[in-house]
């Protein structure tokens, strides 16, 4: 009896020591070693990214820079990569040197001390390459620079030109016209819709709110502001809630087998999406190539055109990288060097954030839109009208609240439920900030 107790005590002690060892490992996470001193020393960099074929772009770099070799480690997508990075930061090791980080994740990553400050490196000289709104996303409006912008997702309206023509619908210029067009489409074929309200794509709704003039977070001195439940967002929610309540817009999520089928069979007649839309359409509805066209987003006020941004990412250096300067040099090359930007467009199919690069590289419409030679004129003009939007440190919580709250609203098919969803989203986001100890005004 005694002995077994003693053995138990020993076990507990051993576990406690192991635990202490594990904990102390975490505290070294923040320490950064000095940049390598010898410029000719061979450096190995790892890069977590998910954009398609990015490794082929990186090969160009590796051929020319034998001393700084970059290995692309393919990730599942934005969210899983961030989860893995945050885990590695907590563990104290295991993070790559570079990571493809979406703009809305940057405040979360900075708050978790996962990103290195690049303001002392060559990356700081790239400011003039990017639109101000995008630069604001990577600096969070301060002096530090957390990543180099790569691509953006200005939102546009894709539609089936052949079906529009058959039904005699003009391309909607305002949201009122969009609603009218939605009614016409649904009246002509009860199974067809001009679009769907997707409760699974918080980024999509954020882009819609951004177009209407919303900016969900703000900094007020030393405190955060949360401004989700305000006029612009409520207006957007009410609009879509109204369309869903009337039944002229579908209420099912995007990216399901059902949605793909509907795109293919002409039951989804339009899609409000971003500059990267052609890739998705080609992958999910390849047989409909040549029947789609792109137009600017419908407007709230046609005299003041504006658009939102859905997606887009940047190249960040993690706080665990031991080769800050080399990594910054690579990130700068990848996103501003004309040759690299051209490769990003052609091989990875992205819409580059670099102003000049976008102009010179985006001359030919994507193959899926070969029927519309001015494709990039339309997208390029939209890109100029992206409003500024500030993300906060708990975007993940707000987006998760979007999923849960708007799923309920879309299911209930009631306009009032959409407005409730907005105020619940605000509540959840503010509560989370307060619970964690952020100062909230």
């Amino acid at each position: 009896m005694r002995k077994s107790f003693r053995a138990g005590a020993v076990a507990m002690l051993a576990a406690a020591t192991m635990l202490a060892a594990g904990c102390s490992g975490g505290s070294t996470a923040g320490s950064q070693s000095a940049a390598t001193s010898d410029p000719n020393q061979k450096v190995e960099l790892t890069y977590w990214a998910w954009a398609p074929n990015l490794d082929k772009v990186v090969e160009l770099w590796n051929e020319k820079n034998p001393n700084i070799h970059v290995t692309v480690n393919k990730q599942d997508g934005g969210d899983p990569a961030v989860t893995k990075l945050l885990t590695a930061v907590k563990a104290g090791s295991g993070a790559p040197d570079l990571i493809q980080a979406e703009y809305q994740k940057i405040p979360t990553l900075v708050a978790a001390d996962a990103l290195a400050d690049l303001s002392g490196t060559v990356a700081n000289d790239t400011k003039s390459h990017f639109p101000d709104g995008v630069w604001n996303d990577v600096t969070l409006g301060g002096d530090a620079l957390y990543s180099v912008p790569q691509d953006t997702g200005p939102m546009v309206f894709y539609y089936r030109a052949d079906i529009f023509e058959k039904l005699g619908i003009a391309v909607p210029k305002t949201w009122d016209e969009y609603a009218a067009a939605a009614k016409t489409v649904h009246a002509a074929d009860p199974e067809a819709y001009l679009g769907t309200f997707s409760s699974n794509d918080a980024g999509w709704f954020t882009g819609m709110a951004q177009q209407a003039g919303a900016s969900w977070w703000g900094v007020d001195g030393d405190a955060w502001n949360v401004k989700i439940a305000e006029e612009p967002t409520e207006k957007v929610a009410e609009y879509w809630g109204g369309l869903v309540e009337e039944g002229v817009i579908d209420n099912k999520p995007m990216y399901t087998p059902e949605w793909n089928t509907a795109l293919n069979t002409g039951k989804q007649v339009g899609w409000l999406s971003a500059a990267w839309g052609p890739g998705v359409l080609e992958g999910n509805a390849g047989s409909t190539a040549g029947t789609w066209k792109v137009a600017p987003m419908p407007q709230w006020d046609a005299s003041k055109p504006s658009t939102g941004n859905w997606g887009g990412s940047s190249t960040a250096v993690t706080s665990q990288s031991k080769n800050l300067d080399a990594a910054a040099k690579f990130a700068t090359w990848l996103n501003t060097e004309p040759e690299a930007v051209k490769a990003l467009v052609e091989v990875a199919g992205i819409y580059p954030a670099d102003n000049e690069g976008a102009k010179s590289a985006l001359t030919k419409a994507p193959a899926f839109f070969s029927n519309q030679p001015d494709f990039y004129d339309v997208v390029g003009e939209a890109a100029q009208n992206v409003g500024s939007f500030t993300y906060g440190p708990n975007v993940n919580v707000a987006y998760n609240a979007y999923n849960d709250q708007f799923a309920k609203a879309a299911q209930s098919k009631q306009k009032s439920a959409f407005l409730d969803a907005v105020s619940n989203m605000q509540q959840v986001t503010v509560d989370d900030l307060k619970k964690t100890g952020f100062t909230v005004k």
Partner: protein, 321 residues
């Protein structure tokens, strides 16, 4: 307890060498032999559990805007995480949903498993080994795969069932609607779980000595009477075991609702308790409350299993003692 002590004479004469030999054979060798097991237990069982406990008493503390170095730290949270876990309406909601799910699933699953086991064991069954494999096969399909497969069959726009019904002018209700989605998940679990439970019961039926059946036959027992009066009571222990396993698996339901969630509006990211833990830990990046919630779930699982065994033990294992 009798303690044998060597006499004082022996003690002085050969005390030291004998004692050390004793120590070696009674303490060192057994523990050395147990060491691999103890070490594995400590590293892979005890340490994670203790670490989870430690995490559950901590919280993240932020100063000001929370940006930049050193603005975030961890602090002692006391019982805060437990209090908020137990009072969180979302957690209680997920528990209620899973209880409903279990009440539907477990009786159906064990009922079907028992029925199939008895049918296969009946002397009149033909193609027994084929049926056995066919019923067992879904168990080999990972839950994520089977959920994707069933999800495809549930979606009205692509489902062959809905297509067929439409050919006959009928419109089937969508199983992914909020009031039916629990059944949709039950169906997936049932499809995957019946085979395993059936094999457990069937195996213990096979272990019953055939003299008992002969005796029953001589007494004029029909197949159904044999099943009800002899087979089921004899395999009661394996019924208890499969029930216990099913209960634990039910409390841990995760893969099916997580895989179905992106397909419909009816499943929240906190549909089941484990989904809530996953969401807190990885979507909301709050491992501390996730740790507290998982400790609560582990304790509840332990208590429920313990109570269940207390209730059924006498009945199931009574004749063995």
């Amino acid at each position: 307890m009798t303690v044998t002590r060597p006499g004082p004479a022996a003690d002085t004469a050969a005390g030291t060498p004998r004692k050390s030999k004793n120590f070696k054979s009674r303490v060192l060798i057994p523990y050395a032999m147990l060491a691999p097991g103890i070490i594995l237990f400590l590293v892979f069982m005890a340490a994670p559990i203790i670490y989870t406990l430690v995490l559950s008493f901590q919280k993240k503390k932020v100063s000001g805007l929370g940006l930049g170095k050193g603005s975030q730290s961890t602090a002692f949270a006391g019982l805060d995480n437990y209090v908020s876990a137990l009072t969180d309406p979302e957690f209680l909601g997920s528990v209620l949903r899973v209880l409903t799910y279990g009440l539907i699933l477990i009786p159906l699953m064990l009922g079907f498993a028992l029925l199939f086991a008895l049918l296969l064991d009946s002397r009149r069954t033909r193609a027994g080994s084929f049926s056995r494999t066919a019923i067992f096969l879904p168990y080999a399909v990972p839950a994520v795969i089977s959920s994707l497969l069933w999800g495809f069959l549930y979606l009205p726009g692509v489902s062959p069932f809905h297509f067929l019904a439409r050919q006959f002018g009928m419109e089937l209700p969508s199983l992914l609607d909020p009031n039916l989605v629990t059944f949709a998940i039950c169906n997936i679990a049932l499809w995957g779980g019946v085979g395993f439970n059936m094999i457990v019961m069937y195996t213990s039926l096979k272990a019953v000595p055939s003299e008992i059946y002969e005796a029953a036959k001589l007494d004029g027992c029909s197949e159904i009477q044999t099943a009800l009066r002899i087979k089921i009571p004899i395999i009661a222990p394996s019924l208890v075991m499969t029930a216990l396993f099913s209960m634990i698996a039910t409390l841990q339901v995760f893969a099916e609702p997580t895989t179905l969630r992106p397909l419909a509006n009816s499943l929240s990211t906190s549909w089941s308790p484990l989904m809530l833990v996953y969401r807190d830990a990885f979507t909301r990046n709050d491992v501390f409350s996730a740790a507290a919630t998982s400790i609560v779930i582990a304790l509840a699982t332990f208590i429920i299993s313990f109570l269940f065994l207390r209730i059924v033990q006498k009945r199931a294992f009574g004749q063995e003692n």
